[in-house]
């Protein structure tokens, strides 16, 4: 190598880590945990309490389950299969904040645990690849 090329290499390798490493660390910290609420776990997750509220549309039936009037679990029954390869269920809290509940896919029963006290006003299914909305269901 000649000197100008060496200098260019040096500049690149002194600067690139300063930009890339923080971005990488940030994304590890904020990475959502998809494994918590995937179907394999969901089907083996037993239902909690009684159905306190039910809402339904063409594709989905949604039950809010719990005991003593506190919602503890969201049960989503997929009636017609969702065709997008990778879909996520979001919950809209009554405060307006969105929370990620987990992934959803083929026909079946999916259960997601809720933090007691959280009140969901709506759930949204989103195709994460295309970033488009697949379905939306108001719970109130």
């Amino acid at each position: 190598m000649i000197k100008p090329l060496r200098s260019r290499h040096q500049i690149i390798w002194f600067i690139m880590p300063l930009i890339v490493v923080p971005l990488l660390v940030l994304s590890i910290i904020q990475r959502p945990d998809f494994s918590k609420n995937t179907k394999e776990i969901a089907t083996s997750t037993p239902a909690i309490g009684n159905i306190l509220k039910e809402v339904e549309n063409q594709q989905l039936k949604v039950n809010l389950r719990g005991e003593d009037n506190t919602y503890q679990q969201l049960e989503v029954i997929v009636k017609t299969p969702i065709e997008a390869p990778f879909t996520i269920v979001y919950g809209k809290l009554s405060t307006g904040k969105n929370i990620t509940l987990g992934t959803i896919g083929q026909r079946g029963v999916y259960r997601y645990s809720l933090t007691p006290g959280q009140t969901l006003s709506e759930i949204v299914l989103q195709d994460k690849i295309k970033q488009t909305e697949i379905n939306r269901l108001k719970l109130k």
């Binding site: 000649i2 000197k3 690849i129």
Partner: protein, 342 residues
Amino acid sequence: MSLSYKMILWNKQKKVYDIILFVLMMLYIVLFSSVTFVINPNTTIETLIIRAFGTLAILMLHIILAIGPLSRLNSKFLVLLYNRRHLGVSMFLAAFIHGAFSLIQFHSLGNTNVFYSLFTSNLDYFSLIDFPFQVLGFFALMILLVMAVTSHDFWLHNLSPKMWKTLHMMVYLAYALVMLHVFLGAFQQESSPFIQEVLLVGFIFISALHIAAAIKEKKRDINSLSNDGWHYACNVDQIPEKRAFVISIKDERVAIFKYDGKLSTISNVCKHQNGPLGEGKIVDGCVTCPWHGYQYLPAEGKAPAPFTETLPTYNLKLEGVKIFVHEHPNAEGEYVEPLKWG
């Protein structure tokens, strides 16, 4: 370099290397598939192909990026440098399989054009979490494609080594893009377990190697002092037989070779890809580049016939055992009578 060396020994060695490379790549795919099926038996074959080849490509990219600084830090790694190019082309092929399968699986199901879908299905360019990570992978793949296509020496000569080197430094940009592709993708896709953590360690390792090599090189770039245009280099006994001593004169590195009781000095920079000639040996009377084996006659700075590369030579003088080099390079290929000593 002699023709017979190039045609027979060289190619045979390369073929063996290619076969080993192919076998190792297949072994990785089989291993990755087995582990995936044990951990998650529901994985579809398309997802498996996408993940196996994506992770293979990024693993190979790390190896490729480590070879350069490793061979600067320790000459034992120079063997890997000889064949880095085939590693690069194979890495591109693995990345290509990954990218092609992703495009088919995620973008060919709708009624829009595959590439139109890639660029328009997600436009959240201002969100970190929803950033269109596949577009980053696409641009990285395009850079790797250009590099793979121009990797042959034909392009090196046609584009000029300087242009070619600049082009191939784009691999660093591709590397950064791929890292972000995997990391931002993790928000939107379930990925292989631990891949982000492993890659963070890998990135820090590669950066540390490059920085260590840069620091080592920086020390060698300190220019020597001149006395009427003559620069003191070293004493005769500091150069091992058939090897060189390298000094930096006015930002140009120069290699003083000692062989058969003689001393000759040529530019340190190989005409092929600017390899460090002073780290090579004299083989069959020729200075042999440690990177890909180009050869030069030390007194003439000329490649032996039928090759045509030429290098600047330098004048030398001895004062006792002290070697001095004159700062003005001679014309490329100009013969300088070797200094005899002892």
